[in-house]
């Protein structure tokens, strides 16, 4: 038996979570113990409508796109391009040709670092990132800096896990070519003030790439309002399938950028020694793309829009408020990062004297799935002087009762480990 939410005022009221849970077969699965999935920041669960959209492709119009002059290929082409339009609309891009399909956020960022980076970064230039970046938004810039002789600079964070923006004036100079930063920290949940930073970056002539892997799934994102130059995110973190990611870019930039991965589909014409490349997005989608996955992501975006991003954001906020309050009475517990007000649904924590792996291991015994490790953010770990943290993260299908189970599990871990401490 698990405790009911103790506080009536905290009963969930923004989303019909039970109805939502019915869309996710994995959450309805009989198992002992039942799955309590608190790792959506790593990858989200997939609703049936998304799986069905892909199955429909494979079972009724499986064909390669863009070149086939027969019905199922015309159908596949239409659905693939329709998915692109849905995604453009979802982030309010002006045109669907600004949406490039990739495998994941990581590939999207590498594309910019190689293509835009090689054409625009020279020795002595500066690339500005933050210490809270995921490795996927740090390593491509490290390599670019090493290749070109450019310099990486870092925006530091406060103890509370907010960006130290006092530093910004000093860090942003006319040598800064690009600011590459995360919208939402995958470890701390911190929501960064993108619009302000983008404006400041543009004022010195720098471009801005936003790692939106943790924001596009969880809150309304409007690229025109943000005014960012590039935005990257992944399908598998937003109810979509694996194997599909997105790079959004301003059209003039995408047009100027040299090709990156090349091959089938990226061209206008090919001669033995020389080729002319196509317009974006085709220029950047080399070879047979993730057709079923793009269509699946289109279905995921339909699903998220139906539920509503504002509602999802509000729901996660309720879960966060409840969790912060509930967990705060566990002695020896540290939560990293800001107050719920300034973040989305992730809680990184440590419990004195217990390795985060062991926390995750004990929780797993009662079916609670959380993540433990460096979360691909070692520079941030170094900043907090920890090797690892345990992270619980939420999404539209999570409930208050699941947070109670997390709480119970943390207490169990404490019991197992402290009983034995000398």
């Amino acid at each position: 038996m698990h405790a009911q939410p103790m506080n009536d005022a905290l009963t969930l009221h923004t989303l019909d979570v039970e109805a939502i849970r019915n869309d996710f077969p994995i959450l309805k699965q009989e198992s002992d113990p039942r799955l309590i999935y608190l790792d959506s920041a790593a990858t989200s669960q997939t609703p049936d409508c998304v799986v069905n959209a892909m199955d429909e492709y494979y079972r009724t119009y499986n064909a390669n796109i863009h070149r086939g002059i027969y019905r199922i290929s015309e159908e596949a082409t239409a659905r693939y391009e329709e998915a692109r339009k849905k995604i453009a609309r979802f982030i309010n891009a002006r045109r669907s040709s600004q949406i490039v399909f990739t495998r994941n956020t990581t590939e999207s960022i590498n594309l910019v670092a190689y293509s835009w980076g090689s054409a625009n970064i020279r020795e002595g230039d500066e690339i500005l990132v933050t210490v809270m970046e995921h490795h996927s938004n740090l390593l491509p810039w490290q390599l670019l800096a090493q290749r070109t002789g450019a310099k990486l600079r870092f925006i530091e964070i406060t103890e509370e896990g907010l960006l130290q923006l006092d530093d910004l004036d000093r860090l942003l100079t006319e040598r800064t070519r690009i600011v590459a930063m995360t919208h939402v920290s995958n470890v701390l949940g911190t929501i960064n003030p993108i619009q302000d930073i983008t404006a400041a970056a543009h004022a010195v002539g720098a471009k801005v790439l936003i790692d939106a892997a943790q924001s596009v799934p969880h809150l309304p994102v409007d690229v025109q309002q943000m005014d960012c130059d590039f935005l990257a995110f992944s399908g598998h973190k937003m109810c979509g399938p694996t194997g599909i990611g997105v790079l959004y870019g301003k059209l003039d930039l995408l047009e100027e950028m040299p090709p990156f991965l090349v091959g089938g589909s990226t061209i206008r014409s090919v001669q033995r020694e020389h080729s002319i490349y196509a317009d974006p997005p085709a220029k950047f989608e080399a070879g047979t793309p993730s057709i079923a996955e793009a269509i699946g992501l289109g279905a995921a975006v339909d699903y998220l829009r139906k539920v509503g991003l504002e509602a999802i954001y509000a729901h996660e906020h309720e879960l966060l408020e409840y969790a912060h309050q509930k967990l705060s009475d566990i002695e020896g517990l540290t939560i990293y990062g800001p107050k719920p007000r300034q973040k989305t649904g992730a809680i990184s924590l440590n419990l004195d004297g217990i390795h985060p792996h062991d926390l995750a291991g004990v929780l797993d015994v009662s079916g609670v799935a959380i993540r433990a490790g460096h979360h691909c953010a070692q520079p941030l770990m170094q900043q907090y002087d920890v090797i690892a943290t345990a992270r619980a993260s939420f999404y539209l299908y999570n409930t208050l009762e699941e947070i109670d189970r997390l709480y119970d599990g943390l207490l169990t871990a404490k019991k197992i480990f402290t009983r034995r401490r000398r």
Binding site: H66, R67, I69, E81, K85, A88, R89, R95, S96, R268
Partner: protein, 133 residues
Amino acid sequence: MNIYEEDILDHYESPSNYGTLEDPDISYEEDNPLCGDKIRMELKVEDGIVADIRFSGHGCTISQAAASMLTEKIKGQPLDEVKKLSKDDILEMLGIPLGPVRLKCGLLALKVLKAGAYGLKGWPGEEDEESGE
């Protein structure tokens, strides 16, 4: 509705305004990167009116018939009419439905015309893709 309608085959077999002009005011050529079809459009413009027009190139029935029909439609008209022509006008002109792949064949002539006359890039119809609720 069959793609190989008599009407379309007629235009393919005996295209109108096929050939080139001497000293054209506008001359532009482009190909469809998906299949290699190529169309060149040449125009004489007098007082803003398309006084004469020719097309040349090679390609499938759809791309060539669409070019032939388009030249008939635009000859003698104000050049500015070209700018207004949309994807749907071409579909109506051809009188058959086209999937997204063959659509590019059908639109190639209009694309060449718009690019030549106004420097417009992108496929006709793409301007409709502006998203927003």
